[in-house]
């Protein structure tokens, strides 16, 4: 009996080996996040085909905005691409929705090759690696125009606002956007993060017993927002302001680096976020670090090939290529070593901000609620609502139970 079993096993082995030798047709569908990634991904695909000549790969490329990826994937994970790129703020949603295949074959390799922060962003609450880090430049930092600011000036926000107001120009910051708004509170030592369940949040922004209270932060923000040198500027107004010269410094990310570099020329510079004044002290603004991650669809019909491609798409070679073609900062440790990478001001700024940056671990309930508080700050709290009430409302929304 055992003999027969062994024979069958051997036969099966031989068959599977035999089929390996034959060129198989493998179809994959890959989503990148941006129209402008197309040239890069096509090159990667060519390289991939060259590196895995044993199969006939038929790889289709689609574009799916990295910021909306989870919405589309979660509507029907079985119909999503085999390999997709997403921004790390959606990691939780995707993982909870069961739409990410854990890295089962080469987790050690991936962990060894990428920065610890990027690995942290791709690791689930169960300690498993669920995604392949692709870039480490998706966070935010300060762009500035050297014509107006010295390196000394950009250390404090107060200094920058004063200079800008003097010049009749603005420092831009996307206040009514939860992703950026986090920066102020975290900088002052107040916490907000997702709970163990991966859905609900903890938040103490309304704390009254911390060294710096929530109300004090809000007071400081209202003051900043009322400063004549301050301008509320999300991506579009930032681009517009940089182009027409009214914005001479602002918080944004690498996706707007080209715009700033073109407009400011040799005066283009970037650095970590400044400190700001709250309750009489200077505190360093924190931030969310941002990573682009590559996920593999667990329902993929060619899961093995999809994992091979995801690994290849995020390896050193592809990340270097990505930097060369798209100026996007690598998460690969070796790729980060290159001098050309370090010389890029935006990437240097990200590295400088890294000590004050947190990996995003945020439940969905945070975004709209934080944005609303930011909006109230921008409008200068026109209703005159008690600040503690504002914070209490905000925390109630952020920490709302999952059923809602």
């Amino acid at each position: 009996m055992k003999k027969i079993l062994a024979l069958v096993l051997a036969l099966a082995m031989a068959l599977s080996l035999g089929s390996c030798a034959l060129a198989e047709d493998v179809s994959l569908r890959v989503w990148v996040g941006d129209n402008q990634d197309i040239d890069w991904i096509n090159t990667v695909i060519e390289n991939f085909k060259a590196a895995y000549p044993e199969n006939n790969y038929n790889i289709e490329v689609g574009v799916q905005n990295e910021g909306d990826c989870s919405k589309v994937v979660l509507t029907d994970p079985t119909a999503a691409a085999d390999v997709f790129t997403f921004a790390d703020d959606q990691f939780n949603s995707l993982m909870n929705g069961g739409a990410l295949q854990p890295v089962v074959e080469n987790a050690e390799e991936i962990i060894a090759n990428n920065t610890p922060e990027s690995i942290a962003a791709a690791t689930g609450s169960d300690g498993m690696l669920y995604a392949y880090p692709a870039t480490a430049d998706n966070g935010y930092f300060m762009f500035y125009n050297k014509e107006y600011f010295t390196e000394e000036d950009v250390q404090t926000l107060d200094g920058m606002l004063a200079k800008a107001a003097e010049a009749g120009k603005y420092v831009g910051f996307p206040m009514s956007n939860g992703w950026y708004f986090y920066s102020w509170f975290k900088g002052a030592g107040l916490e907000m993060h997702v709970n163990e369940d991966g859905v609900t949040n903890s938040c103490n922004w309304n704390a009254t017993d911390t060294p710096i209270t929530g109300v004090q932060v809000l007071e400081a923000l209202l003051e900043i927002a009322a400063n004549p040198g301050f301008k509320e500027a999300d991506s579009d107004p930032f681009v517009a302001g940089v182009k027409d010269g009214s914005i001479i410094a602002g918080v944004s990310g690498t996706w707007n680096a080209n715009v700033a570099a073109e407009a400011w020329g040799d005066n283009y510079a970037a650095t970590k976020l400044p400190t700001y004044t709250v309750a009489g002290q200077q505190v360093q603004m924190a931030s969310f670090s941002g990573f682009k991650l590559v996920g593999v669809n667990p329902y993929s019909a060619n899961l093995g090939a999809a994992m091979d491609f995801a690994t290849f798409m995020t390896n050193e070679q592809s990340q270097v290529l990505r930097f060369e073609m798209r100026r996007q900062g690598p998460s690969n440790v070796k790729a980060l070593e290159a001098d050309s990478v370090k010389a890029e001001p935006a990437i240097a700024a990200i590295i400088a901000q890294a000590p004050y940056a947190d990996v995003q671990r945020v439940g969905q309930k945070f975004w709209d609620t934080a944005a609303a508080l930011g909006k109230i700050v921008v409008n200068g709290n026109p209703d005159g609502t008690d600040l503690q009430t504002l914070l209490d409302n905000c925390v109630a929304g952020i920490t709302a139970p999952a059923e809602q």
Partner: protein, 283 residues
């Protein structure tokens, strides 16, 4: 007296001119932006600094840019629109005839059901529709889109019914006396008399696939550019990521799509108006 009249005459036309300008300024901006040198939205001046045909070239001859496949989208949408238009127009006219000219037991209940269906927001059911289509293996396909756009067309029969109601009953009765059956009456008498409402129905159902992006975005979820419709493709060009590089191409695409529709409207204007006014008598 006479000068006052002249002034009023001039004033009347000035008001019209002003209103026409209000209506046309955004359209004008669409056209000039599509010809402008800026890739993104032009934010500093109304008219671009210089003019170019680049965006039209980029959108009509996409070359290596596999993302904007405008000619392909146009073809897809056109194909979908033609078939949708044939099927939905047939459905609408069929239902309208049955409801207007025939009397049968289920007529009132069916009309009531139609009224009730029309009260629900249309896309409430889109997820369910999506899974039905997926199990029929019809997502990401043009056939599927045609079905989605035309299957429920029968519900929009009211205006056509209103129009048929206005056609004199004696015409039909004369035909019955001569031994014609219902089919003959429908095909030989009612349809030839209904040119305006047919034009109206055809135009409306032809336009639907050009305008819709909700069902398109959920049904065409492969992300592959060559499968998109015009609405879906253009919509992606103005999202946060792409706006600064594709806004002018979006405008160019908008202009290209508008041209055939404008021509259609201007030629068919008379019938269109007759159709809707004839049909809305009874609402």
């Amino acid at each position: 007296m006479k000068t006052a009249k002249v002034f009023r005459q001039i004033g009347r036309h000035l008001v019209l001119l002003f209103l026409a300008c209000l209506w046309l300024v955004p359209i004008l901006w669409l056209v000039v932006t599509s010809f402008g040198v800026d890739k993104g939205p032009n934010l500093s001046t109304f008219f671009p600094a210089a003019y170019t045909l680049d965006h039209y070239k980029a959108i009509l001859f996409p070359g290596s840019d596999t993302v904007s496949q405008f000619p392909r989208w146009f073809l897809n949408t056109f194909t979908i629109a033609v078939f949708t238009c044939i099927i939905s127009s047939m459905f609408v006219l069929m239902v309208a005839y049955a409801m207007s000219c025939m009397r049968f037991k289920a007529r009132k209940p069916l009309m009531n059901i139609a009224i009730i269906m029309n009260l629900f927001p249309g896309f409430l059911s889109m997820i369910a529709v999506y899974f039905i289509m997926k199990n029929l293996n019809l997502t990401n396909s043009m056939t599927g889109m045609v079905i989605v756009y035309s299957a429920g067309a029968g519900l929009g029969y009211l205006i056509a019914k209103g129009f048929f109601d206005t056609i004199s009953k004696s015409l039909r009765e004369a035909a019955y006396l001569e031994g014609a059956n219902e089919f003959t009456v429908f095909w030989k008498i009612i349809i030839p008399l209904s040119k305006p409402i047919i034009v109206y129905t055809v135009i409306n159902s032809f336009l639907a696939p050009w305008m819709d992006f909700i069902f398109a975005s959920i049904m065409l979820n492969s992300g592959v550019s060559a499968q998109k419709t015009v609405a879906l493709g253009l919509f992606a060009m103005v999202d946060k990521v792409n706006r600064n590089n594709y806004f002018a191409q979006f405008c160019a695409g908008g202009v290209i799509v508008s041209i055939p529709i404008s021509v259609l409207f201007i030629i068919m204007q008379k019938f269109y108006v007759e159709g809707i006014t004839g049909g809305s008598v009874k609402g």
